[in-house]
Each structure stands twice: as C-alpha cells, then as structure tokens.
C-alpha cells in the first residue's frame, strides 16, 4: 500500500508541473491585450503601462515569465488587478466555502448514486428501472442554470427556504444549532443542484458495473450459501463494483467546479467559481492564471485521494 501511494504521489507531482504550464500559457498565449484597460485608452500614460509590464514580467521571454509568475503565485507577490491583494489570499478566502460545497455535493452524489445504481442493477429490465434510467438521463441533460432558477423560485416562494449566500444575515439565531441549520440549508440547495449530474453519472456507471459483477461465479456461491439478496448485492457485489465509482470521484470534480461557476453565481455563494466569474468579467489575468492552477491542483489532489481510497477498498488495485 505504501509503495502504491508513493508511486501515485510521484505521478501527481509530474502532473502538477504540467498543470502549472498549462494554466500559465493558456492565459498568456491567448491573443488579446494583457492590459485590463483598452490599448488605445488615452488616459493611461506610458509610464503606467511600463510599470504594469514590469510588475507582471511582460517584458521578459516567455519561459522566464512562466517561472517568475509561478514564484510570485506562491510567495504572494502575484496580485490581483482588481484590488492589488495577493491572489493566493483571495483564493484561500474562498476555499472553505468551495470545499464545503464540493464535499457535500460529492457525498450526495455518492450516496444517492450508489443506492440508485444498485437498485437499477437489481431490477434491470423492469419498467420501473427503465423509467428510473430515463429520469437519470434528464438529470444529466438538465442545464444547471435553468434548474437552479426554477428550484430557487419554487423553494423561496412556496417553502420559504433561504438560499442565497452562505447564511441569512441580520437574523439573531436562538442557539448555535439553529445557526448551523441555517448554514446547512444554504449549502444544501446549490450542492444538490451540482450533485444531480453526479448522481446520474454514478448510478449509470454503477448499474453497468454491477450487472457485469452479478454474472460472476462468486455471486452464485454467495447465493448458494443462503444469503439474503440484499447481502449478496451490498456486501458481495458492491464491494467488487465500487472501485471504478470511487476513482470516478476524480472525474466528478472538474465537472463539479465547472457547474459551480454558474450555480455559485445564481445562489450568490462565495466560492471559487464565483471568484472566477468575477475575475473573467474584470479581465483580472493574474487571478485567472492562479485560479485555473489552484483549481486544477485541487482536482489533482482529489484524484489522488480517490485513487488511494479505491486501493484501500479493493486489494487488487495495489498490485498495479
């Protein structure tokens, strides 16, 4: 197990390096003015422009720009065009909220996805299962922004559920529990919207894997032992099928964050998706480079964790 972790770690470092290259060059190489203001704006003196160029190393050759920008990123020298605060700081401020959102989303996806997937495999072919499959496809095809709006309207007007931001302001909560409950509500709705696609994807994937697993000989052995069908499914079949699901969490992450850009916008949730949208609006290139890098690095970390988890669940993986 240890050597497996070390191998994966080494691979991750290589990927991290490539990620940093991609994040930098995607923003830098894209044709377009590096200045947040218009090229021909007469109000900006040549001196201001020169200072700008110096600050962002724009007068150096590309590979030096890359190295310097990366250093700046980690030392906190890379500053946002918007408010001149270190970019890393701005990102770190949003990190807890983003983590809360993504982790919740993943948990929702995994739990419901697994339940649905096992049920779909068990009753495969029946009309209930086919209808269920159809519903999961709808989840996948649903545009996030559309369902967010519809959900927002229904929840707020009909149920009075608070949804914007992370907590309701201006309210005195009778006790900490009530306050946490309020936070939970604010978190749950965007997390659920984001999780829909994940639930659908996981359940379909698990269904397909389980159907294959159910044909294996050891399932027949398990039944011949007189075990209840639930035990056969959840203990014997699932553990063998869960491995691709867990490593699939890594696949979920980029999609989650992609979806978060829109969902955080709609629900005014102060996460990194929203930061990205704001940075794009303001043409805040340093923030964009840093954000792309950090987000991809987080996904990489997520992949690493899910690979280690899947090795823990299925002993056969450790030999790879």
């Amino acid at each position: 197990m240890g050597s497996f972790i070390i191998r994966r770690l080494g691979l991750s470092l290589v990927l991290l390096f490539i990620i940093s290259i991609i994040s930098f060059f995607i923003v830098t190489l894209t044709p377009g003015s590096p200045y947040p203001w218009g090229e021909l704006n007469p109000k900006i003196s040549a001196e201001v422009k020169a200072n700008f160029r110096k600050k962002f190393h724009l007068d150096r050759p590309l590979h030096e720009q890359y190295a310097l920008t990366m250093c700046d990123l980690f030392t906190g020298n890379l500053r946002s065009i918007k408010d001149d605060r270190p970019v890393m700081l701005r990102i770190m401020e949003r990190l807890p909220a983003t983590l809360a959102l993504n982790v919740t989303s993943i948990l929702i996806s995994l739990s419901f996805g697994t339940l649905l997937g096992v049920a779909a495999a068990r009753y495969a072919g029946s009309w209930q299962e086919i209808t269920g499959s159809f519903v999961t496809f709808i989840f996948i095809a649903l545009p996030g922004f559309w369902i967010s709006y519809l959900l927002a309207i229904v929840l707020v007007t009909t149920f009075g559920v608070p949804i914007l931001g992370t907590q309701s302001y201006g309210i005195d909560f009778p006790n900490p529990a009530a306050e946490w409950l309020d936070r939970l509500w604010h978190l749950l709705i965007p997390a659920t919207v984001l999780a829909l696609g994940g639930i659908a994807a996981q359940s379909r994937y698990l269904r397909a894997t389980m159907i294959g697993t159910m044909r294996e000989d050891y399932i027949r052995t398990a039944r011949s032992k007189g075990l209840r069908e639930e035990v056969v499914l959840y203990k014997h079949a699932l553990r063998n099928s869960i491995r691709p699901i867990i490593s699939g969490i890594g696949m979920l992450l980029p999609a989650l964050i992609s979806g978060a850009v829109i969902v955080e916008n709609i629900f005014a949730y102060p996460g990194m998706g929203r930061l990205g949208y704001e940075a794009v609006l303001e043409r805040d290139y340093p923030t964009l480079v840093a954000l792309n890098f950090v987000v991809a690095a987080l996904v990489l970390l997520g992949n690493l964790i899910s690979d280690i988890l899947s090795a823990a669940v299925d002993p056969r993986v450790r030999l790879e």
């Binding site: 072919g125 294996e216 000989d217 050891y218 027949r220 052995t221 398990a222 039944r223 011949s224 032992k225 007189g226 075990l227 209840r228 014997h236 553990r239 063998n240 669940v313 299925d314 002993p315 056969r316």
Partner: protein
C-alpha cells in the same frame, strides 16, 4: 432424502422468447449419507440439474416447466424464499467447478467461511477456531497462517479445498459438487477426491457428484445416473453399470476411458460408437 421427479426445465432466449428445453423429465433419488454421481458430456444438463435443486438458476431466463423436487419433505419448487435460504448452505451446500472465480476476491477466506458459520450455526462461539479446524480437515497446511489470505494468494488446489471447507462448515446434509476437480491438475484431483471421500465418511453426509469423467466415480459413488441431452439414459449401481452398461451412450462413454495396458492406437470417440 432427495427426490427429483420428472423435472422439466427450459431457457428462454433473450431475443425472441422461444424456450429451449434443457431438462426433459429428469428423475433421480438420493438416500441419506450416500453418494450419487451424475455423469454426462457438456450440455447434457447435469450442472443445470444440480443448480435447479435449490433454485439457484436465475428465473429469467430459466423456466421450470414441470416435475417435482423433494428434499427431506420440502417441495423445493414451491418453497418460499425464506425456506430456500435456510436450506441453501445450511442443509444443501455447493462446491463449484472454478475455485478461482467462485471465491469473492475482495474478502479474506476467513471472512468468507465465517459468513457461512454465523449464518447457519449461530451457536458457534469460537469462529476462528472452527474455521481452522475445517481448513485442517480439508488438508490445508498451516491453516492459522492462511486465515487472512485473499483467494488470489492461494493455488488452485488450495482454493478448492477452501471452498469445500466453506461448504462443509455449515454441516450440510447434502454436498453438491459440480465438477469439483475438472479445473485442477490431475495430481491434485486425486488428492481432493480422496479427501472428499474421507470427509463424507466422517460426516455421514450425502454427496451429489457431477462430472463428465466416468473414471473418477469408481469407489466414490454407489449409484450413478448417466445424462444425455437433458435426460437420464441410465441409472443404477455404479459397479453394475460399469460392468454391464445397457444404453449405447453409456457403453460409448465407458469405452472412451483410457486404460492402463490399453494397446489401442487410436482412442474411440462417442460419435463413432
């Protein structure tokens, strides 16, 4: 103890729903503590018969079309799921052909055998000790060290011994062994079969042995049923059948067994006889 009367079974084709008959009226009997061998070629329906006894065949595509299966007074074809589950493992246990795929690869052999024991013999307190005793009984060296091994860490012969230990650990009345040695080396085959005979004697349980190999049943099974294309074509005491086969198919099967001191240059095939 076990009585199969005119069992008819077929399989529905997934594309057009037509039913292909697999068992066309199979009748067998097995008394307590005895061994019955079912011999036949691939496709004769012997494995299907074995699985049908406890309704282990998934019912689409399998379809029970007629007949009765009586086990110690239980009508297996009308038994409820709960009754079936008690019988499976607890009264009738199975050993399958491919030990490498019949054991769950993600659980240790200890946990798989323990599952059997806790399910059917809840009164056993020292589960580890019980498992070690059974592993020892099937001939596994250093059973204590092997407790926490995963199936893929064992050789084929050992895996099959583990399967037998697992099947027997619930102390069933009937052990159904479906081609238990076919997937193993010839040298291991004899060891496993001898062990099986020894265990049956010690435990006093009945054994239903399925095989395509006529040669191994001598000394092992008192009675034999020869199956061909979904029907039992010959049935009787093994000694009798071997000496005086009646059905042409049986004669052909026996004639195909290679014998020591055989001077034939070319072994016969069923089709020729």
């Amino acid at each position: 103890m076990l009585k199969i009367e005119h069992l008819q079974l077929g399989f529905t084709s997934p594309t057009d729903g037509a039913i292909t008959p697999a068992l066309k009226g199979v009748s067998l009997e097995l008394a307590k503590g005895e061994t019955l061998a079912i011999v036949g070629e691939s496709g004769s329906g012997k494995s299907v018969t074995a699985l049908a006894i406890t309704r282990l065949l998934p019912t689409p595509p399998a379809v029970y079309q007629g007949g009765r299966i009586l086990f110690e007074g239980h009508d297996m074809l009308t038994a409820t799921d709960a009754e079936l589950r008690k019988i499976r493992g607890g009264r009738i246990a199975y050993v399958f052909q491919e030990p490498s795929t019949s054991l769950n690869p993600v659980y240790t052999i200890r946990s798989q055998i323990a599952e059997m024991i806790t399910l059917h013999r809840p009164d056993v307190t020292d589960i580890d000790g019980e498992i070690i005793r059974w592993l020892d009984a099937v001939g596994i060296i250093d059973p204590k060290g092997r407790l926490h091994a995963y199936p893929h860490q064992l050789s084929g012969g050992m895996q099959q011994r583990v399967m037998i230990a697992m099947a027997l650990s619930a102390r069933p009345d009937l052990l159904i062994a479906d081609e238990p040695t076919t997937a193993l080396d010839v040298t291991i085959q004899k060891q496993i079969l001898d062990k099986l005979r020894e265990l049956q004697r010690d435990l006093g349980m009945a054994v239903l042995l399925i095989t395509h190999n006529f040669a191994i049943i001598k000394g092992l099974a008192r009675h034999v049923a020869v199956m061909y294309r979904g029907e039992v074509v010959e049935y009787g005491e093994t000694e009798q059948v071997l000496r005086n086969p009646v059905h042409p198919y049986t004669k052909a099967l026996i004639a195909c067994i290679p014998r020591l001191g055989d001077h034939r240059r070319r072994l016969p095939t069923i089709g020729e006889l």
